[in-house]
Symmetry: C2
Subunit: 300 residues, 2 copies
């Protein structure tokens, strides 16, 4: 059986981490955007061998357990204990790993949904497994529930699927500009001193956003959050300011990656493209993915 899933890339705009010993109660408050690009996961399940094998590859390259511990853990849990055969999982990422696009959650959720589809699970159970291993391995706290919600999402109660509550903003026809410049370790940030500032500023941003739940307001609050926590600084902050002169809604920092994102009105796309080309920086412009990830049988 061949199954294909698509999980949108998820950019966090601002957040408040919520740690908990029970991974389903761990999660985050905050807001973010889901993109039309993200992670495509193809799963092939074949029976007929005597042993049970699970193979995972990233962008066509086989990866060992140490480099894909979250997705291997997801597969180990969902593939039934008494299954013998070959499970191959190919994850293809539209954005680089570690740059803040929720690749780890996207790969985990896509894997969980594909295997849930193949082995008789449900959406909720699959999503809970993905969230659990994301949290246990500190891949992220809010990406899985954000990706399940789609669109522009607001995490109003922290927690995994079935526990957390995610709201959605209404929005007009925006394009999303992303400028991915490098990695930032979620794990290091969450272990660092900045967490207190993140909690304080994230909480304030969420409260203000719920008082005026608009995408434009979310971007302004995200920018304020990024600057006040000190996560956005130096050259990246200079770049954000330069970008702001070319577009109408404030740009902000991808949480957590060394990069920027912005909402573009249709007539601003060319301006933004020109600026980034002039600066010789990598960028992409993509739509917002509304609704859920997709799952279905894959007919080559």
């Amino acid at each position: 059986m061949l199954v294909r899933t698509f999980v949108p890339a998820h950019i966090t705009a601002f957040f408040v981490p919520k740690f908990h010993d029970d991974p389903l109660k761990a999660g985050s408050l905050g807001a973010g955007v889901n993109l039309d690009k993200g992670v495509n996961v193809f799963a092939s399940i074949e029976t007929g061998t005597l042993e049970r094998h699970v193979h995972i590859s990233f962008n066509g390259e086989p990866v060992g357990r140490e480099r894909a511990v979250i997705s291997y853990s997801v597969a180990d849990e969902i593939v039934p204990d008494d299954f013998t055969g070959e499970v191959e999982i190919w994850q293809y990422f539209d954005f680089p790993n570690g740059y803040g696009f929720g690749n780890s959650a996207g790969g985990a959720l896509g894997t969980a949904l594909a295997l849930g589809y193949a082995f008789g699970g449900t959406w909720l159970k699959a999503a809970q497994v993905a969230h659990k291993y994301e949290v246990l391995n500190r891949g992220g706290l809010g990406d899985v529930v954000g990706q399940l919600a789609g669109g522009i999402e607001v995490r109003v109660r922290a927690g995994g699927p079935g526990v957390g509550v995610v709201d959605n903003l209404f929005f007009e026809d925006y394009q999303v500009l992303v400028v991915p410049l490098g990695k930032l370790s979620t794990r290091e940030v969450l272990d660092g001193d900045v967490v207190k500032a993140i909690e304080r500023e994230g909480r304030g941003a969420l409260e203000k956003l719920l008082g005026e739940p608009k995408p434009e307001r979310m971007m302004a609050l995200a920018r304020e959050f990024a600057e006040k926590t000190g996560l956005l600084n130096g050259e990246l902050l200079e770049l954000a300011r330069e970008l702001d002169r070319a577009i109408s809604i404030p740009s902000s920092m991808i949480m957590l990656g060394r990069g920027l994102f912005a909402l573009l009105r249709k007539d601003e796309v060319e301006n933004a493209r020109n600026l980034l080309s002039d600066l010789n920086l990598p960028y992409d412009v993509t739509g917002i993915h509304e609704g859920r990830p997709t799952v279905g049988r894959w007919v080559g």
Copy 2:
């Protein structure tokens, strides 16, 4: 401003009602299917008059407050108190009212989403308002959360949006046959003696479905529920049996309407059509609506 929303028709397969004084905690457990047909709601908001007027029409006919108390209540709550102008809401139903297609919830949710979009709300807040008036006026208990989930949904924790938890089944490419024969009052059934049987059988069906979460199993359990509660009987039961001879997955009763529904594999559609045409009964064949309702600006 013109806004258009589409909310899928929602057929309940089996259910357990959960009453509660707090409407957001009231809801139902159970399972159901969302259809590609349903309710289209168009909202027009015009300022510039001195008074505030809200007008609602069903299928092009203006309706007074007494015939559309749920949707008028939704509009009254979401349109800001200080708004002056004309709010016109047109609801168009693909299926007849009172036949068990979730029209009342679809109209309420479509209205709430359209007005939320226009007046600065969020998805969750809009959906909560729709659920609240559905419950308070006994339009239904689980339709709003079922319609928000899309696909084939399983309500695993009762409650309104943000409180209840809804799971989804994975499914192959089914068509849905509906045979709408008449009305059944949700209110009368929920006030009657049958509620105890519904609670017992519904609970059992849910438990069994979660043990084997497949659409085919859901239909078999729905049929068992319908027969054991006595809701499906007489001529309608005879018809279900006749239908079953033409298709492979058990048909069941639309909860709550006088009608049947069934999942059809592609190669069964013609069989089913022929049988119902021969019997001279009204029927429709439609796809399953996956994902959320849709909301957006309406450009004529």
